[in-house]
């Protein structure tokens, strides 16, 4: 699966935006049935999202639907409408622990079975938005093989903590670190929260570079104009790419020669480093940087 650096939120009741999704240049879209949709529009948005999922060609976009939380009357209806249309993933908001994942997993499995969909097709992205959810995030990430990503909802998380969300993001530092570490430990992706100020792309770039440095695999955004900035932050440095190439070539050579030990620049290299190097080269490809072109 290709890297998903940018995940663009599109309101589920905005057909004009949904039909343009493939042109925005993002790696993934999040069709939103939750916060972006007014209570009075929930039903129509759900129908619209289901219609687009069934009939529209999203090309090679990774498509996630953010459903409403399990504590709402819309949760069941959202899953029933969306899962049969096979989005790549469903984003579960306000995920407070493994029990929320297991409940969603059960329901999704039932719907998959009922609709003749191979079990486990629709993945789950767990959205951590509370202190409790944060404390349990590793257990959440490992609760089901359906979970392929942890994400942080900055606005709700800071509200739960009773603090202000700032541009500097100090109040999110611990949560970000913890989520990234849990995601890596569980072998799933990690996606950062949105940058709300559409006028301040410099701030977005600064924050994006910071979260790339922390180890996040992607970042959500709320406007197509933010996509290019996020991608800019994920461009691997030439020095990193050179080393990644050496690592991958050494791994390939070791495999050919049947060696179990990989060594680069005189140092032993283990499997996570190889995986990270492969990921870097895949990222480079997204930027049109060819192997050997750096």
């Amino acid at each position: 699966m290709k890297a998903t650096r940018s995940m663009l939120y599109i309101p589920g009741d905005a057909p004009g935006m949904i039909q343009h999704a493939p042109i925005f240049g993002c790696d993934s879209i999040l069709l939103d049935l939750e916060d972006a949709v007014a209570l009075t529009e929930k039903d129509s948005a759900r129908k619209m999202v289901a219609t687009f999922l069934s009939r529209f060609d999203f090309k090679d976009l990774f498509v996630t639907v953010r459903i409403n939380g399990a504590d709402t009357e819309f949760f069941e209806k959202d899953l029933e409408a969306v899962v049969p249309c096979r989005p790549d993933a469903v984003r579960l908001p306000k995920c407070n622990g493994p029990q929320d994942i297991l409940a969603a997993d059960r329901r999704i499995s039932e719907i998959e079975e009922k609709n003749g969909i191979e079990p486990g097709t629709v993945k789950l992205h767990a959205m951590i938005e509370t202190a409790l959810g944060l404390e349990r995030c590793f257990e959440t990430a490992t609760a089901s093989p359906r979970v392929t990503a942890l994400t942080i909802g900055g606005q709700d998380f800071t509200a739960d903590m009773g603090v202000q969300k700032t541009k500097e993001g100090r109040e999110l530092f611990y949560a970000r670190c913890r989520i990234v570490a849990a995601a890596h430990a569980a072998g799933v992706d990690s996606y950062d929260t949105v940058w709300a100020d559409l006028q301040d792309n410099e701030g977005l770039l600064r924050e994006s570079k910071e979260i790339v440095g922390l180890g996040f695999t992607g970042k959500a955004c709320i406007h197509p104009s933010q996509v290019a900035t996020i991608h800019k932050a994920f461009i691997p440095a030439e020095k990193e790419l050179r080393r990644a190439l050496r690592v991958v070539e050494a791994a390939e050579a070791a495999k050919r020669e049947g060696k179990g030990v990989i060594s680069v620049d005189g140092k032993m290299v283990d499997a996570p480093v190889v995986a990270r190097s492969v990921h870097l080269l895949e990222l480079a490809e997204l930027y049109g940087i060819e192997r050997g072109g750096f």
Binding site: H20, I23, D57, H223, P224
Partner: protein
């Protein structure tokens, strides 16, 4: 009325009643090559006794002095755009004086001038030569309620028509932002400053009689910049106001935030880069609309990064082009009309911001129209078809709502002509099997860029190859059309009454490229 099919398969008349015979369009440059050495129309001689003051007592007195009679041709220029007060003022006076059956031949008609429709209904105007028709006037002509000959010409085509004598201007009314008592005129200063007077210069040179209308009579001689010299001007009329400054300058256009326009802009720029037109000495014309203006932003970044200096920017000049010029990205700007106040100031202050007339800009029947030296032009469109033909004149309901402008001229002249448009508007696809009206022939269009892909004319295989090599989203135009129609459905084609010609559309060389017919 006898109709024939031209080389693009369009039904065109061989004669427009009240105007004369026309040849059908055959190819972009056939007639141009054949015209070399042909005689131009004789220019009127304006012998005048020594005079130190050409001021007329009033507009009415000036009209009386001009010798204007029923059935003659009057011209105007549109540089004051929606702020222009001269066209309504003069037409009202002519109506009050009881004129009938005039040929109205402005360089274009500002969108706000719905009054022209009223003067057609009243009989003051019974023939129309223009670059485009919009608003109430477009509705009136498209309704078929009035039956007057209308000929649509490009900016270069109009200059050609004037110089070869197809348009014989009897009296030119020139809105003059600054003028002295002997008729030296500048567009750069005065309360109604509009910058370049490019179209007015052509009218002043060729009209039998020229009346300058000004609200800023300056001490003789006007200085430091004279756009139109006194020897072209017969009379000067001072009025309270020739325009509304707020509506003359559009105000510096903001760079679009529309993701669709930005995607189109980015791909247009990437195509320019792939085609290797952006190199030292590069020349460029852009529009002031969303995508083409945004393309200039990407272009500017690239030129700055690579240290590339262009030779010239051309055309209707907006603030962004003027700013690029100020930053030294282009050595020269050739300006036939200025879109905002920044441009006007730049032209007044900067000697390499050069005011050009319409003929120099785009007339195909002279020895050096600047459009022929363009490396690249980015043009907007209402719709395009699978043969790359472009329509900038009629909406998808067949109603006249656009202007030909410099579209045909620059597309024919530029080494790389890129047409940008969203793949659909309001749920209606922009790529058709056949456009409603052809204004620019597909033979002169190299690429069509939409947000859903780049279509390159098969006449330019080297550009296709370069674009594919650069991994641009190249797509066959029929495939793109099919893809869009999956989203929008296929609109029902409009049926036309081909016995009812509403407007003849000239190609820049004077042949007829299409007709606008009444919808059934």
């Amino acid at each position: 009325m006898k109709n024939v099919i031209n080389s693009l398969g369009r039904l065109v008349p061989t004669e427009v009643p009240g105007v004369g015979a026309f040849m059908p369009y055959s190819a972009p440059f056939d007639r141009i090559a054949a015209m070399r050495g042909a005689a131009a129309a004789q220019k009127p001689l304006r012998a005048a006794l020594p005079s130190r003051d050409k001021r007329a007592a009033s507009l009415r007195a000036a009209i009386e002095n001009s010798g204007l009679q029923d059935g003659m041709t009057i011209s105007f220029h549109h540089h004051l755009r929606n702020g222009d007060a001269v066209i309504p003022m003069v037409l009202a006076e002519l109506q009050a004086m009881g004129f009938k059956g005039l040929t109205f031949a402005p360089s274009s008609i500002p969108d706000a001038h719905d009054c022209v429709a009223d003067y057609i209904k009243s009989g003051l105007i019974n023939k129309l030569y223009t670059s485009g028709v919009r608003g109430k006037l477009g509705q009136l002509l498209s309704s078929g309620e009035v039956d007057i000959p209308v000929v649509i010409r490009s900016h270069g085509g109009r200059a050609r028509a004037i110089e070869e004598g197809s348009i014989k201007i009897d009296v030119a009314f020139l809105a003059a932002p600054s003028c002295d008592c002997l008729g030296n005129i500048s567009g750069c200063t005065g309360p109604s400053a509009c910058g370049s007077l490019g179209y007015a210069i052509t009218d002043a040179r060729n009209a039998a009689h020229v009346i300058a209308v000004t609200d800023n009579l300056v001490e003789y001689p006007l200085s430091p910049k004279i756009s139109i010299p006194q020897y072209h001007v017969d009379q000067v009329v001072t009025v309270e106001s020739i325009g509304d400054p707020a509506k003359i300058a559009t105000g510096a256009a903001r760079i679009t935030r529309s993701p669709v326009d930005l995607r189109i802009a980015q791909d247009s720029f990437r195509l320019m880069k792939a085609a290797e037109v952006v190199r030292p000495g590069f020349s460029f014309q852009m529009g002031v609309g969303g995508a083409s203006l945004a393309a200039a932003v990407y272009l500017e970044e690239y030129m700055a990064e690579k240290g590339i200096t262009g030779s010239f920017g051309l055309g209707g000049v907006g603030g962004y082009m003027a700013a690029m010029h100020d930053k030294g990205m282009f050595r020269t700007v050739f300006d036939v009309q200025s879109f905002d106040a920044v441009v006007t100031k730049s032209m007044a202050a900067n000697p390499s911001h050069i005011e050009i007339d319409a003929s120099w800009y785009a007339n195909p029947f002279n020895a050096g129209a600047l459009v022929n030296n363009l490396d690249c032009v980015i043009l907007a469109a209402l719709e395009v078809d699978t043969d790359f033909n472009v329509n900038v004149l009629t909406g998808n309901d067949g109603v006249l709502r656009g202007a030909s402008g410099g579209h045909q001229d620059t597309a024919a002249g530029a080494a790389l002509s890129i047409v940008v448009l969203p793949s659909f508007r309001g749920g209606v696809p922009s790529i058709k099997d056949k456009v409603t009206t052809i204004t620019t022939p597909g033979e002169t269009v190299d690429a069509i860029v939409t947000e859903r892909g780049i279509c390159i004319n098969s006449r330019r295989p080297e550009i296709t190859e370069a674009a594919r090599k650069a991994k641009l989203p190249v797509i066959e135009i029929t495939d793109l059309k099919n893809e869009i129609e999956k989203l929008t459905g296929v609109p029902k084609p409009i049926e036309f009454n081909y016995d009812k010609l509403l407007a003849a559309v000239e190609y820049r060389d004077g042949t007829l490229i299409d007709g606008v017919y009444a919808a059934k």
